[in-house]
């Protein structure tokens, strides 16, 4: 029996902050925000995955399940500090595929994936 894969949404975000947070700090802030707003069950439903984060441009791509995009947006919006530094995370674009998102935003595929 053919099994259809889980539909996803990909969100391109930008971090506004005075410091240069690491990828791990962004992930921890996002995970904690989801846990605060929606709990462990919400975290499981949203199934977030920080696909990539560029520390120079402060842009990143995060993935969630298709029907939980609003919850992920709310969780990103409610982050006000990353590693103790005031910050804001704003979504710039969304797409159903990572390829289309990169194309729309003019982002190149990270080198390690192409090698």
């Amino acid at each position: 029996m053919p099994v259809r894969g889980i539909r996803r949404r990909y969100l391109l975000f930008n971090v506004s902050t005075g410091s240069a947070p690491e990828e791990k700090a962004i992930w921890e802030a996002l995970r904690d925000s989801i846990l605060t707003l929606y709990g462990a069950k919400g975290l499981s439903l949203i199934d977030p995955n920080l696909i990539e984060y560029n520390e120079e441009t402060k842009n990143g791509i995060v993935r969630c399940t298709h029907d939980t995009e609003r919850f992920l947006r709310a969780s990103l919006a409610s982050i006000v500090n990353v590693s103790g530094t005031p910050a804001a995370i704003r979504v710039q674009r969304t797409s159903g595929t990572i390829k289309a998102l990169r194309k729309k935003a003019g982002i190149e595929k990270p080198k390690k994936e192409t090698e």
């Binding site: 709310a74 919006a77 409610s78 704003r90």
Partner: protein
């Protein structure tokens, strides 16, 4: 085409007001209302002036209204007591009622059925500030959500329009329109209505007041 409106920006300086107006334009807002005068931020966004009146006694409120109604596009009252909430509910010079952001103060002051009955059909709006939902401890956040949801239930029963604003006092507290409507999910607000709370409802308030201010000598 839908125009997004952020009716509540609270910058502390005129320079910050300009910075926030530019950011609002980049985030996709068409109109903003700010408590500090804003130098012309450009063609893509229009700015309105707003005053937040904090009053504990109705007499203080009436005096403040006398001084400020004609000077501002939007007049909002933060109801710090029941007395003020009742007065604000029946005064036609007021556009928006808001309640204290501190859950302890809000325990004493909320939108009750009596006030809602006075507001019903007048076009005055109840305001939800997204800043109240940001970055608080889970305990505080749960209290705030419960209190706002209680007010929203009363507002809905009396068909009172609800406005969703950022309530941002710094650029870092500003969010894009879709983020604000997503935050409204915390209050169990339907997605379509959340979009109206951020577009058609505040836009109607601005249009009504601009028309009124033009008519007055």
């Amino acid at each position: 085409m839908r125009h997004y409106v952020d009716l509540h920006l609270k910058p502390s300086t005129p320079e910050q007001a300009k910075e926030m107006a530019l950011l609002a334009s980049q985030l996709g807002y068409k109109h903003i209302a700010s408590t500090k005068p804003t130098a012309d931020p450009g063609e893509r966004i229009t700015t309105a002036t707003r005053i937040d009146i904090d009053a504990k006694r109705s007499r203080e409120l009436l005096e403040a209204l006398k001084r400020s109604r004609r000077r501002y596009d939007v007049v909002a009252v933060r109801c710090l007591s029941k007395e003020v909430a009742r007065q604000a509910a029946k005064d036609d010079r007021i556009d928006i009622l808001l309640f204290p952001d501190d859950p302890t103060q809000r325990k004493q002051n909320w939108l009750d059925h009596h006030e809602a009955g006075l507001i019903d059909g007048t076009g005055r709006a109840y305001e939800v500030n997204a800043s109240d939902l940001l970055a608080t401890s889970p305990t505080r956040l749960s209290k705030v959500i419960t209190q706002i949801k209680r007010d929203l239930a009363v507002a809905s029963r009396h068909d009172i329009p609800v406005v969703l604003s950022s309530g941002a006092s710094t650029p870092l507290a500003m969010r894009e329109p879709k983020a604000l409507t997503a935050l409204a999910t915390l209050l169990d607000i339907d997605e379509d209505y959340a979009v109206e709370m951020l577009s058609t409802i505040p836009e109607a308030i601005l249009e009504r007041n601009h028309a009124k201010l033009k008519e007055e000598p």
